[in-house]
């Protein structure tokens, strides 16, 4: 038997998913060891494999989703980094876009840049927008500047010169000299990380790459070595923000592509679930302890975004377009200055956690509200491993209830309405704000708290169907198992799109494709199952933002007409109009290289142990669904005991190790042959 292995490290747990050739899935969880992430995870892996009696050499594929890169930025634990820029522009990281983080709140300062001003040094050189050299590189001056870096003890150097996307000769020369003078430093040049115009996002992205590169490099090296020592012969792969994997060897050179490794894996898992349940369009709804992440899935694929702020920095790197808000089980409910109830974004986290965890938390949280309402088990969660203190939850909610003049149950219901409304706002951001009608989508609920809230959110918004995957708490690890190799290559080149420029357009795409193939060959990634996707960033001349459209393979002048037609169609669907007579300009070229890996036909959690739905009924308890009607006595079912093909009429509560699903009245849940819960509304 051969196996695939996925390992996802989150803030509190490391999740493991092991999939055999015949499609049987086994899972495991260990607490995250924050002082030694790799060591703790490898120890957990060894235990899991021993437990399952799986030979490490039988693992033919393993993929890792890691938060190391993101944490380095969030916790400011990256490398001591310097930035080299064109003379006159050392303050690119300081000036940013001349905006405050918040237009009104004077207390919210600009985030401190990852490189302090004193380590931003200028280099005498200048390249113009068309790539011509206006000022040749002054090597003597450069040597003096690099000597200063040496004295400063820098570990990483980011190099970002003006217009390097048009001519990178100077960046190459600077890199060479830095390499000679600082042989151990980690060096990043902007034209490799992001060969696109707009210097501030490019500099910020280059700096972020340099800042996280060394720690990611050390971490992945350690992880891969640990795997080899354990006897895993296949090479380690890493999950990237773009939803694909890449070999761990060399992944640290583009460390910035790993920032959203974790959330991307969850969305990939949701896309897989959407696929097996036969849905092209879906919204992934991942609610955990501190945040709720949502993402639109269209045509079976997660939507991708290019630029997103990370800790206040505009990082440009292809990533799944996840929108995240501070709404989770640990989100704290409070009364604001105007006397209204608010929930989050502050969270009780995992320590002390919600009052119901009995670890000293006293402020009311979403989890406490769910406990008070009987939606969550009032005695224990995680199959008994986490005991629940119902009285503490009631006390926390009761304090807020007195201030609001409501009963504890009314308060708890109000907390759920408010947090649900916040999440509705998030779902609208990834759908309505992007011009997409979410009512054509299914909602895929996962994460520890997603299935608790999803059906009410869906009902409020008019979704017709909610899907709760068989293991909602480990969907990220499942996403890791089912990934393909993917890397994105982009380049700025500005051309007017027309038949007269077809050769230049075709040539630029061909260059990027060549670059993609040579990367794949260098990494021994199979080309025979590979595919190339071309995208063009187009705008009407005079506009300053581009639309990304899928480009055809351009082999003759008339193919350009097709590209233009796609652009006008996209523009019309996004904005309601387009101007076919206006000149269209291409600014950026984008090639996505994907090499497909074989997938098992089905995934199932384990052999079913029951054939009758009645075996799954483990209890009945009072559950508050609405304030007016009081509690209802609802059946409580064990998820793993529910046979495939069953139908459950709400109200019902479905409990499993990693989550609890609320099936309200007037909805019904069906269990499909893969074990997914399909909840129909109306």
């Amino acid at each position: 038997m051969a196996y695939r292995l996925g390992i996802d490290i989150g803030g509190t747990f490391a999740d493991f998913a092991l999939l055999s050739n015949d499609g049987e899935l086994r899972t495991f969880k260990v607490p995250t060891r924050s002082e030694d992430l790799a060591g703790g995870c490898l120890a957990g892996l060894a235990e899991f494999l021993a437990d399952q009696a799986v030979e490490p050499s039988a693992i033919l594929y393993w993929a890792h989703g890691t938060t190391v890169a993101m944490n380095a930025i969030l916790e400011r634990k990256g490398a001591r980094t310097a930035l080299l820029v064109t003379e006159g522009f050392r303050d690119v990281l300081q000036i940013r876009r001349q905006l405050k983080p918040d237009r009104y709140d004077l207390h919210r300062a600009k985030p401190e840049s990852l490189v302090p001003r004193s380590r931003c040094l200028e280099i005498r050189e200048r390249v113009l927008f068309d790539g011509t050299v206006r000022v040749p590189l002054d090597r003597e001056h450069l040597e003096r500047q690099v000597a200063r870096l040496d004295a400063e003890g820098v570990e990483a150097v980011a190099i970002c010169l003006l217009h390097s996307y048009a001519n990178h000769q100077h960046e190459d020369e600077v890199r060479e000299l830095v390499r000679q003078m600082l042989p151990v430093a980690y060096i990043t040049v902007s034209h490799e990380v992001l060969p696109e115009f707009r210097e501030y996002p490019r500099a910020a992205t280059t700096v972020a790459n340099a800042y996280v590169g060394p720690s990611l490099s050390r971490y992945l090296g350690r992880f891969a070595e640990g795997g080899r020592e354990m006897g895993i012969e296949s090479p380690l792969t890493v999950f990237q923000s773009n939803g694909g994997i890449t070999p761990a060897t060399g992944a640290d050179r583009l460390a910035v592509n790993m920032l959203y490794s974790g959330p991307a894996a969850g969305v990939e898992g949701a896309a897989y679930v959407a696929g097996v349940t036969g849905h092209e369009r879906a919204i992934s709804f991942d609610m955990g302890g501190t945040s709720c992440d949502v993402c639109l899935i269209q045509g079976g694929r997660p939507m991708l975004a290019q630029e997103k702020e990370v800790a206040g920095f505009p990082i440009r790197s292809t990533r799944v377009d996840v929108h995240s808000i501070g709404a989770g089980g640990g989100s704290i409910a409070w009364m604001n200055a105007g006397g209204l109830l608010e929930v989050g974004p502050d969270s009780a986290g995992s320590n002390p956690g919600p009052a119901a965890y009995g670890r000293g938390g006293a402020r009311p949280t979403v989890t406490d509200a769910n406990v008070v309402l009987g939606r969550l088990n009032g005695r224990a969660l995680l199959d008994g491993r986490l005991s629940i203190d119902l009285d503490a939850a009631r006390a926390a909610i009761g304090g807020l209830a007195r201030r609001l003049g409501l009963t504890p149950e009314e308060t708890a219901l109000a907390i759920l309405r408010v947090v649900n409304t916040n999440m509705i706002g998030a779902i609208r951001v990834v759908s309505v704000e992007r011009g997409v009608d979410y009512r054509d989508c299914v909602l895929i609920a996962f994460g520890g708290a997603g299935p608790l809230h999803a059906v009410e959110v869906a009902r409020e918004m008019g979704f017709r169907r909610v899907i709760v995957p068989l293991a909602p708490g480990i969907l990220c690890a499942l996403g890791l198992l089912l990934a393909d190799y993917r890397r994105d290559f982009t380049r700025t080149r500005m051309l007017t799109v027309g038949r007269e420029t077809w050769k230049e357009i075709a040539g630029t795409f061909a260059d990027l494709e060549r670059q993609a193939r040579s990367w794949a060959q260098g990494q021994s990634i199979p080309l025979d199952s590979s595919e190339v996707f071309r995208y063009a960033y187009l705008r009407h001349r005079g506009q300053s933002h581009e639309l990304r459209v899928t480009a055809p393979a351009i082999r003759q002048a008339s193919h350009v007409d097709e590209l233009l037609e796609t652009f006008h169609k996209t523009h019309t669907s996004a904005y309601g109009y387009s101007d076919p007579n206006a000149q269209v300009q291409i600014t950026n070229f984008h090639v996505a290289f994907v090499s497909r890996l074989p997938r098992p036909p089905t995934v199932s959690l384990h052999k079913r142990r029951s054939t009758h739905l009645s075996d799954a009924l483990v209890a009945r308890r009072d559950v508050w669904l609405q304030a007016t009607s009081g509690p209802v006595l609802a059946p409580v079912l064990r998820r793993e005991l529910i046979p495939a093909g069953s139908t459950i009429h709400g109200p019902a509560i479905i409990e499993q190790l990693d989550s609890t699903t609320v099936v309200p009245a007037e909805t019904q849940a069906n269990v499909d042959e893969h074990g997914n819960l399909i909840i129909s509304l109306t």
């Binding site: 006159g88 300081q94 876009r97 709140d105 207390h107 113009l128 210097e199 109830l341």
Partner: protein
Amino acid sequence: MVDPTTVQVIMSRLQSVAQEMFATLVRASYSANIKERMDCSCAVFNRRGEVIAMPGESAIPIHLSSLDGVVEATLSAFGEHDILPGDMFIANDPYGGGGSHLNDLTVVAPVFGTSGNLVSFVTNLAHHSDIGGAAVGGRAVHLATIFEEGLRIPPTRIMRGGVPQQDVIQLVALNSRLPQDRIGDLRAQLASNSVGLRGLSEIYERFGEDTVRAAMDGILDYSERRLRSALRTLPDGMYSAVDYVDDDGVGDEPMRIQVAVTKSGDSLKFDFSGTSQQANSAINSPLQATRATVLCVVKSLLDPDLPPNAGIRRPISISAPLGSLVNCTAPAAVGERMVACWIVGDVVAGALAELVPGESAAAYGGQLGYGVGCIDVRTRQYSVEYQAFAGGHGATSFADGMDSVAQWASGAPNAPIEADEIAFPIIIHRYELRDGSGGLGQYRGGLGVRRSFSVYGEATMLATVGVRMRVPPPGLFGGEKGLPACVVINPGADGEVRLTRMVTDYPLHPSDVVEVQSAGGGGWGDSRKRDPEAIRQDLHEGKILPEQAENWLRSVSVPEPAKPIVG
């Protein structure tokens, strides 16, 4: 009567709709002002014409109040009987239901509930790049009347029964130097309102007309209550401040802006008596813009998270002499109203500093912008561009001012250097912080910037607009003033020219180097109380000059005078 949670839920849903309208407008428009600088706004109004919801922090604060009166003007122009489903109305006259200058085109759409009755409105406003008039882009400080600033539009039907009225659209387009952009931007505005109409109809269907109406009232009450309760905790008193605009852009005299603030119980009064008469130039602020600036400062200092709706206007009254710089009357020109508004922000904040010393901020370095027009030698076409550079943020009672950011009511992001050099025949030589420009104090003012460039066009003309060139940003509570702004032509060369007032039609040669320097922010508190570690850090980062550090060292080594210095 609806319960508070329903108010909260509906408020959040309405805000989502405003945000969706905003996103649509930004995505679909043509003008760089709208797309890159988000110089636009969207709002949901109740049937009485009061703002209920606006997009959150993304909108520029000058638009907090720009849409005021738009719905009332439409209602009074057409009457309710002539406002029908599928209609939309356009306007831009700041003296009759438009925005706060002619470039801001507003579009109003009535919302009809499930019963078929008129129940509310959605509206949006967008800064169009050119709306005709004597100057390209409407940007010319020397224009004396609004008639020279472009096309004035009273409330006019631009959509009837869901059909865009091409005659009206063509009328606007014909009056613009960039007709295609006008059509594109107007389409974006209609699309934005359509998104708003869809969003609102979902909310009416879900909650019912009565509940939504009651919740809208509850939303206004909520913001009012929240602001009043913040005011009640503060001492009653009267506070005042005076400051100056350098000049009106045509003459040499400074223009005075004065405010007296009375805080009593849970209300605030702002009286601008003593402010200069309106100018014979375009720097005048219509009352909407003055009010937006006041609201922005109040919100910033008292409760930054206050939901921006008409409820926050209830505890605040503003009186400004009619015909003054801050409440101009027709036909005063208003295109460069921000010149007055930047100083309005500073005087309002200066007066409120005595009321909330623990949340106070010293004066802003303001902004200094330029417009350049020339023939682009690369394309042989006439080409124009505008840039504005932010000065340093005033220091606050708790932190150094941020370097080169928007403060108070306005502020647009900068354009990337690489995008600028691609789009325009310009070479940018430097774009860097102006070391030593922040006013020292216990907390230091933020730094201004220095941007220098040459334009390789033909027949190149420069215009500049800004503040704080001759009247530097004052410090607060003993803090020092920031370094004033200026424009230097050919710095350090033989023919160096320092421009410390606004210019129009200043000819440039391709070999000329233009250096725009924005002002540093004012300092807060006595600089002798500054943490020595902060001085050391400033010096290490190069944010203060060595001689400033030496002076500071000398000042702390002499004994303090008996009486504290108050600025």
